[in-house]
Amino acid sequence: MKIEILGMGCPKCKKLTENAKKAVEELGVKADIEKVEDMDKIVAYGVMMTPSLVLDGKIMSSGKIASVDEIKKWVGGK
């Protein structure tokens, strides 16, 4: 499983990354969490707002800090 956090590195992006890490830890699943800060890569996803969370290539949230519970729901549903 791959989780990508799209964002330029501001506190909101960092918080979303923390939430993703916590969600994965709490579920006890294996996942690669990658921060994508390259603007070209972010634009290629078609998102206009950051931070965004991408789970196995699917955009799950955009322009908000998804909560640990939300992320757990998405990851758990895989």
């Binding site: 590195g9 501001c10 506190p11 909101k12 206009m48 707002m49 950051t50 955009s62 322009g63």
Partner: protein, 132 residues
């Protein structure tokens, strides 16, 4: 939006305060007013702008962005309501909906006047202010 910008979690960096403005941007004077009003609202830091056509055409990132917006503001120009239809197609209801034609402005293929732009700007600002 640069790395290490020093902004706080609640600042307007990145996603802003969650207010996202969509304009129909149609060809008529009314459509062009929506675009100009959206630009001026962005310049006044009322919210960020996003592409309505991206929502209407189903670009995943833009649909999710519209769905996740804390407060989406949709401005249509005329009674055809293309913007609202695009949102409905994506299963999204805007928090604030404004239709320029409600102000009694006549649709034509001319450049919008500064007076009409300001009139609509005030109207939309009032609508946004009324929705917390």
């Amino acid at each position: 939006m640069s790395s290490g910008c020093g902004c706080s979690e609640n600042s307007s960096c990145c996603s802003g305060d969650g207010t996202v403005i969509y304009a129909c941007s149609g060809q008529s004077n009314l459509g062009q007013i929506t675009n100009e009003v959206a630009l001026r609202l962005r310049e006044a830091s009322v919210g960020t702008m996003a592409c309505l056509v991206g929502v209407g055409s189903g670009v995943e990132g833009m649909v999710v962005g519209a769905r996740d917006a804390k407060k989406s503001v949709l401005i249509d120009g005329c009674p055809v309501k293309c913007g609202l239809k695009a949102f409905e197609k994506a299963g999204i209801k805007p928090e604030v909906y404004c239709n320029v034609s409600d102000l009694g402005l006549k649709k034509s293929s001319t450049r919008p006047s500064e007076g009409d732009i300001n009139k609509v700007l005030l109207y939309v600002k009032g609508m946004i202010g009324g929705v917390k």
